[in-house]
Symmetry: C2
Subunit: 315 residues, 2 copies
């Protein structure tokens, strides 16, 4: 059993009638909503990676402070993977981000919960997958209707996505964040590395090196170790260079996506900012949006899709 | 305390008078010698990474089946690092591989052991270091006097070394082996990966891809995961492609070393063979030598350097 969840309810708010849930590999986050109004939220470390299929319902119930409420639940993310609560088979590119009608109903033992899980999106060639990011894109499109261009979602598995006419046209995933995490905490470089802090000048200079000389990554990495041994390289400089080299290598490979394009970066603040200054360094105009807010907006868009469509057609 | 060491003594062999020791991060291996003749060997998991400075002498004594012998000991590798038994400060390029006269005497509590540790080699710009490989190079040069060209030492931290007139002129280190280990056992790719086996055709094709498109590593890696999810990519194919992509990226960056050169690969059999077929695929003639044997020959060369020099000068 994991640590107790963190739960916040807005004092005096109306009872929620549904839950918007982002279920990742390491964490789950739920928003309590009454219609479109957020009245609270809860989070725990009961990520998909820690749960068997029959563990999802109890983990969700632990997030609920209202013992008797009957709730609809709309979930995005890894809960819909093959190792999750129930598999929500991928939609295939090109496609609009999946909404309620594509969602898969999850089995529950209590009749208090009516649970649906949104599918991710797959691309056949080159093979690629996303689960969760499609909902962030849906949220971004809900707030920026008619957006046509590139959406970049930096993270453990960074995504570059071509969005046009409301559809995900194509995308590529880069293991940049996972490489950073492995190298900074598990490799020989961990001895030379600060656990946080970023020197923007060092980051940008290394980003530029990674972008222009991506092949040299393997030796540029070991040079961090050698400079720490021989020249007492400051740990924040080492961390900033590692980050810059990896982001630069990603930008080199993602160039067909961003060159001459409009780019929206959806990410947590510090990470989104690192990508923003990297792309601005290449002369691109960049807009930023908060990933967590986009997820919530995307879950709302998916949940209300049918009635929004009804409203639009006047039925 | 670690597992018991493995010890082999040749039946009926003369008593050893010295030990040649390769002390790495995760293991230690000692050869028992009488003059130039190997009469046994021992190994244990008492690597530098598991020992405090005062733990090296007991770890060495545990390898000895001869309780009363008085022995000279010549060590190469991580025992001479700052975190090791005692620091043996780096020699600087360009230099010959260090021999006994550059070795640092290690403190011992018993007078049975006379222990010396060989320095590694550093390069100031670009910053780089080696500890242990210089002794393999010394061994290779002892068996191939006058060799002029490139020595490649694949491994956790692969080295490419320019050797000329008996000296290490310059070198670069690549984190290829460590990246392979982290990605195949710690990353999301571990779910898709065989623990051994190599399909040579798949390896060579991925190597060629990594060599020509090194920037794409981040997305080529995630494609292994996506193809496992979508197309049931066979685990041995995934492992062969991961290995090929990483070796290809290394060859792309190391091209100034090998292009148009004579290359000797010093490595364990399977790994050396992977580099050999990769370089032959690029049209290079390649010679291979066993890394462990080169280490032993290098320790012998270091140990006997003074008397060999005396013999050459006729004194």
């Amino acid at each position: 059993m994991s640590a107790a969840p963190e739960i916040h309810i807005e004092p005096g708010a109306p009872e929620p009638d549904w839950l918007a849930v982002d279920w990742g590999t390491s964490h789950v986050r739920a928003w309590f909503l009454r219609g479109r109004r957020v009245v609270g939220w809860a989070t725990s470390a009961d990520g998909m990676g820690t749960l068997e299929p029959d563990g999802f319902e109890p983990a969700l119930l632990r997030l609920l402070p209202m013992p008797d409420a009957r709730l609809s639940v709309m979930i995005c993310g890894m809960a819909g993977s093959r190792q999750g609560w129930i598999e929500a088979p991928y939609a295939a590119t090109p496609c609009v981000p999946p909404t309620a009608e594509r969602a898969v109903r999850a089995p529950t033992r209590t009749d208090r919960l009516d649970v649906r899980i949104l599918p991710g999106i797959k691309q056949v060639d080159p093979a690629d997958v996303m689960r969760g990011e499609e909902t962030q894109i849906a949220g971004f499109l809900a707030l920026n209707p008619g957006y046509d261009g590139i959406v970049c979602l930096p993270g453990t598995h960074s995504k570059w996505v071509h969005v046009s006419a409301g559809e995900v046209v194509s995308f590529r995933t880069f293991m940049t964040g996972e490489l950073f995490s492995l190298l900074s905490t598990q490799s020989v470089l961990r001895h030379s590395m600060a656990v946080d802090g970023l020197d923007e000048d060092v980051f940008l200079s290394a980003m530029s090196r990674g972008l222009s000389r991506p092949a040299s990554l393997g030796s540029d990495l070991f040079a961090l170790r050698a400079e720490a041994l021989l020249n007492d390289l400051p740990p924040v400089v080492a961390r900033s260079r590692l980050s810059g080299l990896l982001v630069g290598m990603e930008l080199a490979a993602a160039k067909p996506y961003w060159l001459g394009q409009q780019v929206a970066v959806l990410g947590a603040k510090g990470l989104a900012n690192a990508y923003r200054i990297s792309l601005e360094d290449q002369g691109l105009p960049v807009m930023i949006a908060d990933a967590e807010r986009m997820t919530l907006e995307g879950l709302k868009a998916a949940y209300f899709a049918e009635q929004d469509a009804d409203a639009r057609t006047g039925s």
